[in-house]
């Protein structure tokens, strides 16, 4: 039972960077300028590196011949536990940056807490990952300011992106049963305690970006319990294609 909970928790930790990494990977060769293209795919690579650490561990926990590849790529849609935020599409560059920013701030807070996890392996992964995520936060925050405090057009587009994506932000802080259990066991943080710090950090950057905090909205939940938006199936169709077409293939 405990092993199952730990496995589920590793999926909760690993699925966000997996799906966001895949979304960023879609931009390879399509970034608005060469340097930004490289930056977004570098971030994707960091995220997938972190995912490998979680899923290698998850495969050991669940046993039964599971591998990091089978954990990552051979689950069905409802078995993925990523938040709805990270599966939102790359509508335009403002959406890409805004989604990244909303996730990065959360990701950094989460990893900072996981560094003191009672689970040594999770703690080691967090120590490694947080150094990379500090760079991501810097990248997305800088672009928030540049777009928000840029032209009328860039400000308007970022405002629109924020207005749309904000409804998915609070799911990150709504604990599932697994997360509550892990918090009790000292493996993971109490997510609700991270929320006020998150709100403050987001607000600070929004002010510097000449944006306002979005009005109260109807927050959307579901991804973490396997109820995804319609986008998820399309992401997985591409993500899983090679493993489904050529089972057990390796690079």
């Amino acid at each position: 039972m405990e092993q199952k909970a730990l496995y589920d928790y590793l999926l909760l930790l690993g699925d966000n960077p997996t799906i966001l990494g895949q979304r960023l990977g879609e931009l390879c060769g399509h970034g608005p300028e060469l340097e930004t293209d490289i930056a977004l795919t570098n971030i994707s690579l960091d995220l997938f590196g972190q995912v490998r650490n979680y899923f290698q561990y998850a495969a050991e926990v669940i046993g039964n011949g599971a591998t990091e590849d089978s954990v990552a790529m051979l689950r069905h849609e409802h078995e993925y536990k990523n938040a709805l935020l990270v599966e939102q599409p790359n509508r335009d560059f403002a959406y890409v940056i805004c989604r990244q920013f909303l996730f990065d701030i959360f990701h950094q807070l989460l990893l900072n807490e996981l560094m003191s996890s009672k689970n040594e392996r999770i703690s080691a992964i967090a120590h490694k990952s947080v150094k990379e995520v500090d760079y991501h936060v810097d990248f997305s925050s800088t672009w928030m300011k540049r777009l928000g405090d840029g032209t009328e057009e860039s400000n308007q587009r970022l405002t629109e992106a924020m207005g749309f994506l904000w409804r998915y932000s609070m799911e990150l802080f709504k604990p599932t049963e697994t997360e509550t259990l892990m918090a009790e066991m000292g493996v993971g943080p109490d997510l609700s305690e991270l929320k006020p710090i998150y709100m403050e950090r987001v607000n600070t950057t929004l002010q510097a970006s000449k944006l306002v905090m979005p009005e109260k909205t109807t927050y959307q939940y579901g991804g973490k319990t396997g109820r995804h938006t319609e986008y998820m199936g399309y992401i997985l169709a591409e993500f899983q294609y090679m493993q489904r077409a050529y089972p057990n293939m390796k690079w």
Partner: protein, 162 residues
């Protein structure tokens, strides 16, 4: 890190980072420990960045180097303590510079350079300090891209990671 047995150290020293062939894995600081279990050497290595695609190749190269010397090695990947650019040896820093990659600065100076403060990094081509950052993210996860304003050559800078 030093390896007690000079023969083993030589074998490990002969393996280089596939992305930076002039740099031995000993000088980049990713070999953390060598243990011996029976006849098998257990070499513990740690990645520079989580997503470093060179790790698998490096592991295979280490095994091949041991095999060529008539010995057997197994690779253990460790994450903690996390790798830091402080572990690059002075020999490693010299090799990087010679290869055209500027070696990492200290953390504070590094942060200034990466937020775009000019004239922080010395051009590896002509030695001028008249340089600027082109992109914080470069050809690999561990590097940023700079350009010299005097000789106009682009060059990589190895980012500080602590």
């Amino acid at each position: 890190m030093r390896v007690a047995d000079p023969e083993i150290e030589d074998i490990l020293r002969s393996v280089s980072d596939p992305e930076i062939p002039v740099l031995s894995i000993m000088d980049i600081g990713i070999v953390r420990k060598v243990d011996k279990q029976g006849d098998i050497f257990i070499v513990s290595i740690t990645p520079t960045y989580s997503g470093c695609p060179a790790m698998d190749t490096i592991g295979d190269d280490i095994k091949a180097a041991f095999k060529a010397a008539g010995m057997t090695a197994e690779i253990k990947l460790i994450l903690s303590p996390a790798w830091s650019t402080d572990w690059i040896t002075s020999r490693g820093r010299t090799a990087l510079e010679k290869y055209g990659i500027a070696a990492p600065l200290e953390a504070t100076a590094d942060k200034d350079a990466l937020i775009g403060k000019p004239n922080m990094i010395k051009c590896t081509n002509c030695g001028s300090m008249n340089t600027k950052m082109v992109s914080r993210f470069g050809s690999t996860a561990c590097k940023a891209l700079f350009q010299c304003e005097d000789c106009h050559e682009p060059f990589d800078y190895f980012k500080c990671l602590k």
